[in-house]
Symmetry: C2
């Protein structure tokens, strides 16, 4: 099988790449070739069995997109996107990358012709939902984005569903949960603290908590997100019919739940590094976000993610901290 | 007030134009100028008090769109669209007119700048909904289009909502019911018979009925549709928040209900002109369409349409047949 990843230089793109190279397969399907595309030059990891190629590609350029699809990849992971903060600050950039960029790769697939119909896994987001929201969102609940990022992702979903219905591709749009614990440096995203309050104390560093401990949200870990993407690449899409966008399993957790898990894994000294710093703006933004889903369709199709923050924290320690917690009560 | 209508040469565009010229106002707001734009050259009706201008405009041309918005119309009715049959047969044409054309006029509004924020009334459609559907669709039910036309209209809605949330325009998207009785010649649309089985017998002509009499659907008459558009032009949009798309009031009627109304108004000889001609394809298409809505939000904002087919048939006789039924039992 031949794979294309757009947005391959991003955090999820790199972890997805690693997972594919480690298994040299997706599900039961051996992977022979993997192409990594991004506007930022992707750094190809070492690999024995899989042929890796890379390109620095601006997906808003139709010619560049057609080069990517000309080799007829069997599976396309379309992760390339401008993130929510950027899409809100710069409407033109968001429309260009998130809407036109998606349209361009879809049109490039169409242009291949000769019955080419790849599996197209589109990284959408729970940001397609906006208030008012029920406590638990059922599969039929209407998305009403409150950000331009959410609006652009929702438009991508609709194109993926329509192109799938027309037999131009075999698409599936994943409304990914908020990912925690994101590795790396703290960022300015409103959702950043959901990772920071775990990541920083685990590294022995202080972390700010801008919201109430009872704030509830919907999460997956990086491993869970990669697992959802890989399952989407090989699952039977027949049960989806023309409704190609999926709410996904995740963990409905409060900040207090996250902190309790941190205490169980890393002890009270880690928890003591979390400093309440109420921020009205962040509180307001986060209060509009989904708190939980009942992802019946995704569960019936075998999608799974993590089930506890203990599990997510343990994976973070293993994947990002070399198996050790710098700050630990037993040290 | 200065008004712009795109798609002004279409059936609804012409009736909307006539209604505005007759009242020389929308709600309490006197109309001073009306610009009619269409790819088909619009024919300007005679008018005393309102200055009428026309243009033959292809909205997929950004320069042409900017010419339309440069004069800063207070209200824009965006009716221009490729209809469902065409959008399904020709994906490129549908994407170009229904998606890019809408995007282009929205971008043209943005480009005016200097605080310009017009009321933007977008003619969407119940075609944004696709099966499986509940018997009565609540306001929160998720649209899942089963046609490219519905997909493109839904994308337009999302852009209108996002641009409104950003304060770039004051938008409202109307999910118009199927319009019956459409005047004019029979057409090949799958929904055509919903008008034909009334319009043709009222003109003394035979009409084919391709579906079961118990087939139920959601309707407004031409007068009702124009009334919905006019109300959208002057209603307070504050209650909409960032959810700018509205399910609308209409009539949930079976074909048998339509025929019973025809019999009450025009007698059994008119009904005898309806010839059952079962068509499996039309049956299949129509069975996927909405049967009824509970349009709570629209009702609370004062939107109204017709409440019976008797009313719609009476209006058709008045507006299209000069007040007389050629075939009538009492003649």
């Amino acid at each position: 099988m031949q794979i294309l990843i757009t947005g391959a230089a991003g955090m999820i793109g790199r972890k997805l790449t690693d997972a594919i190279l480690q298994a040299q397969a997706i599900g039961d399907h051996p992977v022979k070739a993997l192409h990594l595309a991004d506007v930022i030059p992707p750094v190809p990891p070492a690999s024995d069995g899989v042929k890796i190629t890379t390109s620095t590609t601006d997906l808003t350029d139709p010619d560049a997109a057609r080069v990517l699809t000309a080799s007829r990849p069997d599976v396309i992971f379309h992760l390339a996107a401008v993130v929510s903060g950027q899409a809100e600050t710069n409407l033109d950039l968001g429309l260009s990358v998130n809407l036109d960029g998606t349209r361009t790769i879809l049109d490039a697939i169409r242009s291949v012709g000769a019955g080419y119909c790849p599996r197209f896994v589109f990284a959408s987001s729970l940001a397609v939902f906006g208030t008012p929201l029920p406590d638990v969102i059922p599969d039929d609940f209407a998305p009403n984005p409150r950000t331009s990022y959410g609006a652009q992702k929702l438009i991508g979903e609709i194109l993926v569903s329509d192109f799938s219905r027309r037999g131009l591709l075999d698409g599936i749009s994943l409304r990914l949960p908020t990912i925690s614990i994101r590795p790396g440096a703290p960022n300015a995203a409103a959702s950043g603290f959901f990772s920071g309050i775990l990541r920083e104390p685990l590294a022995g560093l202080p972390a700010a908590l801008p919201v109430d401990p009872q704030t509830r949200h919907w999460f997956a870990g990086p491993r869970g997100a990669v697992g959802l993407l890989l399952h989407a690449a090989c699952v039977d899409t027949a049960p989806l019919g023309h409704k190609r966008a999926l709410n996904l399993p995740g963990i409905s957790a409060t900040v207090a739940d996250q902190i309790a898990a941190l205490e169980r894994v890393a002890g009270p000294r880690a928890v003591a590094l979390i400093q309440p710093q109420p921020d009205a703006l962040v509180k307001d933004i986060v209060s509009a976000w989904p708190r939980a889903f009942a992802p019946t369709r995704a569960l019936s199709m075998g999608f799974t993610a993590e089930t506890s923050f203990d599990q997510i924290i343990a994976a973070h320690i293993e994947d990002e901290l070399g198996g050790k917690i710098p700050l630990h009560d037993t040290e």
